[in-house]
């Protein structure tokens, strides 16, 4: 999927028993997982984005597409246990069991973040910020893009290189 493309709609099961997908509000779809050190290093920053922007109508969807057969720590049960152990997350954690959503989006790594505007058009894709190892960056690339979308502007930085562990494809 390229910047300016309309994202394919999806509905995926969440750890809380609901089914969720992008709606008619800006939505950040963050492909992530349980076991990747890059995803874990950026995780709190992405949770903060979910908290900080929820009052502005933004949704953040965490999507785990990894093959659980080869990586059991990414199973749906393991996802539920993680969220429960954390006392809940401010955003849903969705299971992409067939990996179809990750394929449709062209997700390459965990994390890999796709920001859709209220019409479902891709406005930003890439890493949350410049350095997984620097929490002070606060996912600023994503925040800058969100601010632009909320103001009806095109983000100055629409695409960055996703950084992280490769998505674990079934049979890969």
């Amino acid at each position: 999927m390229n910047i300016g493309d309309t994202a394919p709609p999806f509905d995926l099961p969440a750890t809380d028993g609901s089914t969720q997908g992008p709606g008619a509000t800006p939505t950040a779809v963050a492909f992530t997982c349980n076991h990747c050190p890059y995803a874990l290093a950026w995780h709190d920053r992405l949770l903060d984005v979910a908290r900080d922007y929820s009052t502005r109508g933004v949704r953040v969807l965490f999507v785990n597409p990894n093959d659980a057969a080869s990586h059991p720590r990414d199973s749906f049960d393991a996802m539920k246990e993680r969220v429960e152990a954390d006392g809940g997350w401010p955003a849903p954690y969705l299971r992409d069991e067939t990996q179809e959503v990750a394929r449709d989006f062209g997700a390459r790594t965990t994390p890999d973040v796709f920001l859709l505007d209220e019409d479902g058009v891709l406005r930003y894709r890439g890493a949350p910020d410049a350095d997984y190892d620097d929490p002070s960056l606060r996912a600023t690339w994503l925040r800058d893009a969100l601010d632009a979308v909320l103001e009806g502007r095109v983000p100055d930085r629409a695409e960055t290189e996703p950084v992280g562990c490769s998505v674990k494809w079934a049979g890969g």
């Binding site: 076991h35 290093a41 080869s70």
Partner: protein
């Protein structure tokens, strides 16, 4: 440098994730209870942060131990 390509490779080498750094056969940052397999490895730095690579101080200590 040794590439672990398959689950069998991982089993044979008792490989618990990439990257694994061993000096004189000893893991520079040994971890208990980690399942063997083709996975990304999570390291905890000495200041508590999560990292995809070991703390440099752990590598230095492992080198020091190997030469004692």
């Amino acid at each position: 440098m040794r590439e672990i390509k398959t689950g069998d490779d991982a089993e044979r080498e008792r490989f618990v994730g990439s990257p694994t750094i061993r000096i004189a056969g000893a893991d520079v940052s040994p971890i208990q209870g980690e399942p063997v397999g083709l996975s990304c490895r999570i390291y905890r730095l000495r200041d508590g942060r999560i990292s995809p690579t070991p703390d440099p101080a752990d590598i230095r200590d492992a080198i020091r131990r190997s030469t004692e």
